[in-house]
Amino acid sequence: MLKLRLFRNLGDQELSFPPEGVAIIGANAQGKSNLLEAIYYLETFRSFRGARVEQLIAFGEDVFRVAGQVVSGNDVGGSPTEVAAAYEGSSRRRKVTIDGAEPERIGDAIGRLGAVIFSPADMGIVNGGPVRRRRFMDVALSLNEEGYLVALQAFRHALAQRNAALRSGQLEAVVRAWDEPLARSAATVMGARRRWVSEWRDAFRGYYEEVSGGDSATMTYVPKVAVDDLPDDGIYGACRNALDVRWAVDLRRKSTSAGPHRDELLLALVDGESAVEAREFGSGGQCRTVALALRLIEGDSIRRARQSAPVLLLDDAFAELDDARRERVLGLMGQDRFGQVIITAPKESDLPLQGDGLPRWGINNGQICA
């Protein structure tokens, strides 16, 4: 059950999704992506398209609200959890509730839905700047690893304070007072990223090989602060050391130059002995396949953390794949990796094979007709 109120062009609606899912067919600009955006908003309380929260309010209105009943796969018959989120433009107030109660921090409420979204914008993770790949890791880790989001926020906060101290020309002792909280949170963030990548890199390679039908790709964590074989508890020291070594540079640039805000997730296409960066040398189809493999491991890591299959949201995600690749991706998605499937397409004939068994809904000017 999904209740929508003034979210983009979706008006006031209550939708009951069939347990297996639904295929939503409608011309472009009718609101298909808006619907997936609303559903995924309940997972991260952000737009998957990177829109600012005030852009999600219906035109000329002040408040939107989205509420969903979430049934987790492993307690069938148990009572569903209600996740609700609202935003008021005039007061800039965000409100999130879980079964009616406000969590202490909004971050405590993320990941309750358990969903993965595949969309054309995923290309940007592969061919965009490093910030897109860091954000991908951050979302995956925030949803699945206890304490990650808190550490990430503390890190960003300490970084902003240290940079402000550098810009305002404070004494060295004042600037460097931030080194301790900065390095402490950085070490947690970096340790978690390193662990996550090493846990999932084989699965990533496997998915890429399976979809591409032969070629290979690798994913490697490349931190700005080298931590190669250091144990987790050595990362803090490495960060402190990097801050020491780069002090003169930081002072000159008035900005902190080393830390997880400069990390890279290297995605490389492998051909025999040689490897090239997908970002620079990948074809459209290769980059798309890398993005799909990333989303598939994200789904796996959610499934493992929650012990139930995540909801699969497919927003016209197969545009640049040839038929063979498309069929292999759909094969992978079918193998109990995901639970409910909500898929959008402009025309019935654009619907990938998996849509076959699903009920069809239409969408016209934001109104969904079941």
Binding site: Q161, A164, S168, V174, R176, A177, W178, R184
Partner: protein
């Protein structure tokens, strides 16, 4: 602006009070017997007139020096540094601490333009220096926030050269409203588990 609107505007400045709650406060006062309003106003005026910062530690006081600074039974060898004066109350209620305090009146926050000169650091250093070795230990009880930690690191760097041992609570003091929900024993434990920085 009508006097009612003026009152509502004043209420809405209070922390955690939005315009709707401010309105409710205003209309509530108008509905109640007027003595209630007078006694609230009198209490506010009295606080504004009589309460000021202690000239030694910055704690709330009705006299030049607060009750703690003027109590001869307190241990003058130990100073506990807190960010805000209300935190003195929280530690006192927890019981068990016998030393003196120093209220910073904030925390380092370059994003808000707050450096050491914007909080009570100089008076603190002056206080330690003029005690001429009598201050043996300084307990840094700033919050467990990122700002509280950085402030602690900074204070340690400027205090240690003056002689006293500098210690930090086992965990920093909880932040703001969280402090209200912390039971006294947690603060006592944090004090007991303080470690040299």
């Amino acid at each position: 602006m009508s006097v009612i609107q003026q009152l509502i505007k004043e209420f809405s400045r209070l922390p955690g009070v939005g315009s709707k709650t401010a309105q409710r406060f205003g209309y509530y006062l108008l509905k109640r017997p007027r003595e209630e309003a007078f006694s609230l106003a009198a209490a506010i005026c009295e606080v504004a007139e009589k309460i000021g910062p202690c000239e030694v530690c910055g704690n709330f006081t009705e006299t030049a020096q607060c009750e703690i600074c003027s109590n001869p039974n307190r241990d003058e060898g130990t100073i506990c540094i807190v960010e805000e004066a209300f935190e003195v109350g929280a530690i006192e209620r927890a019981g068990g601490y016998r030393g003196l305090y120093h209220v910073l009146g904030g925390r380092l926050s370059p994003l808000d333009g707050i450096g050491p000169d914007e909080i009570s650091v100089r008076p603190l250093l002056e206080r330690i220096r003029s005690a001429d070795g009598a201050v043996k230990e300084v307990v840094v009880a700033t919050n467990s926030s990122v700002e509280g930690e950085a402030t602690a690191v900074y204070l340690e760097g400027v205090i240690r050269p003056l002689g006293p041992k500098v210690t930090r609570l086992a965990r920093g003091l909880p932040v703001g409203s969280e402090l209200e929900y912390v039971d006294g024993s947690t603060i006592v434990e944090a004090l007991a588990g303080r470690r040299e920085m």
